[in-house]
């Protein structure tokens, strides 16, 4: 399942108020590493979607969200729990490394 695209308007409902932890992938079309990590996040979503929701924020369209969360380097993958950022992963990583980073949320 491809990740849902979240906007400033839907951020509260989709991310901040979610019961489950939510990984927000801040990305842009012109960012090569973002495009390379995207299918890996889709796989993780398919395998662990029951425990962790994965959504995307296009920083080109959602300046305010990128600015609010201090994004200066993408891909930036922030995990939100109870409305707070509890983990930030910067840069594209292979699947085993991402799974290790996300271990606390998916196991």
């Amino acid at each position: 399942m491809a990740a849902k695209h979240v906007t400033t308007d839907s951020f509260q409902a989709d991310v901040l108020s979610s019961d489950k932890p939510v990984l927000v992938d801040f990305w842009a079309e012109w960012c090569g590493p973002c495009r390379q990590v995207s299918p890996i996040l889709d796989e993780i979503s398919a395998e662990h979607g029951d425990k962790l929701t994965i959504v995307k924020v296009n920083v080109d369209e959602e300046h305010a969200l990128a600015q609010k969360y201090g994004i200066t380097s993408i891909p930036a993958m922030h995990v939100f729990q109870g409305g707070e950022v509890v983990k930030a992963i910067i840069g594209a990583k292979p699947k085993p490394a991402l799974l290790a980073d996300l271990d606390a949320f998916i196991n």
């Binding site: 842009a28 090569g32 390379q36 840069g91 990583k93 699947k95």
Partner: protein, 307 residues
């Protein structure tokens, strides 16, 4: 058992793929999961690759390399090699995705990885003001003050590219001249937003949780100064990526894979190396591509000798 496995997907790896596939060797090219296409994926305009008089984008060039390799039967796998055993007649290659492959020959085209400044908290501030990819992150520094460290072509390209976004770009370099190509230097030096700080290194990274500046140290008179910055882009060169093989074959004193003369032959039979991982000097897309061709021809010749 495979005839040949190619590790790496920059110009060297894909060119080796094109030549090995056309030789009927049915190569498997392990491209990496998140860095497929190599260094050129992070560049913008490529103006010096022959055959493209109007230039083209780095990612576009690498897409063409891949398509050309696949056209002749190169199998491209988006996975990461995590372990190899190259010492025997049968070469063993294991990936992060959990696959194990065997091959008669292996071509190493693993390239080079960004060199770090080696300062405390550099990792911690990466992604929080420190960046390694101008094309990815320049966007976040609109109307900001930033610096690029380095003196080569990459530093010139990044500084020039970043002026599209930033209001001010300092270019910090250790020496009193750049080693970048003339055309790239002239472009950077003529840009009114770029100010060069010569003979200077970064002594300290400043900021808690987010970079706010650096302390610079003048290497001629030793004076230190604070420079307020919103972002810092590091482009001080690359180190050959040899960790997979460094305990199995011989390296040069500069830690590149050692090859025999103008060939791609490493100190292990059936193992060949090409591209930036063997090249301390030229490191261009075109020289890497030429080197990949050499490796495929050497592997083909070696395989003929086995029959």
């Amino acid at each position: 058992m495979r005839e040949v496995i190619i590790i790496g997907s920059g110009p060297a790896g894909y060119t080796a793929g094109i030549y090995a596939a056309r030789a009927g060797l049915n190569p498997l090219l392990i491209a990496s999961s998140v860095e497929a296409g190599g260094e050129l994926m992070k560049t913008t305009e490529v103006e010096n690759y022959p055959g493209f008089p109007n230039g083209l984008q780095g990612p576009e060039l690498m897409e063409s390399f891949r398509l050309q390799a696949e056209r002749f039967g190169t199998e491209v796998l988006l996975d990461d090699v995590i372990e190899v055993d190259l010492t025997g007649t049968t070469k063993i290659v294991k990936t992060g995705g959990g696959k194990t492959f065997e091959a008669k020959t292996v071509i190493l085209a693993t390239g080079a990885a960004y060199r770090e400044l080696g300062l405390p908290r550099e990792k911690e501030l990466s992604g929080y003001g420190i960046s390694w990819c101008a094309t990815c992150d320049g966007f976040f520094f609109r109307e900001k003050t930033i610096a690029v460290v380095g003196g080569g072509d990459s530093a010139m390209e990044e500084a020039t590219f970043l002026t599209r976004f930033a209001s001010k770009v300092y270019l910090i370099h250790r020496r009193d001249s750049f080693k970048a190509s003339k055309i790239m230097q002239e472009r950077a030096l003529a840009n009114p937003k770029i100010e060069v700080i010569w003979n200077t290194e970064i002594a300290e990274l400043l900021g808690e949780g987010k970079l706010t500046g650096v302390t610079t140290r003048n290497l001629v008179d030793g004076t230190e100064k604070q420079l307020d910055l919103d972002g810092l882009f590091i482009a001080i060169g690359n180190d050959p990526r040899v960790w997979l093989v460094e305990n199995q074959l011989e390296l040069t004193s500069e830690k590149f894979i050692k090859v025999d003369g103008r060939s791609s032959k490493t100190t292990l039979p059936g193992v060949f190396a090409c591209g930036d991982v063997i090249d301390p000097t030229y490191r261009q897309a075109i020289t890497a591509a030429g080197s990949g061709c050499v490796a495929a021809l050497d592997a083909e010749h070696y395989l003929t000798g086995l029959k």
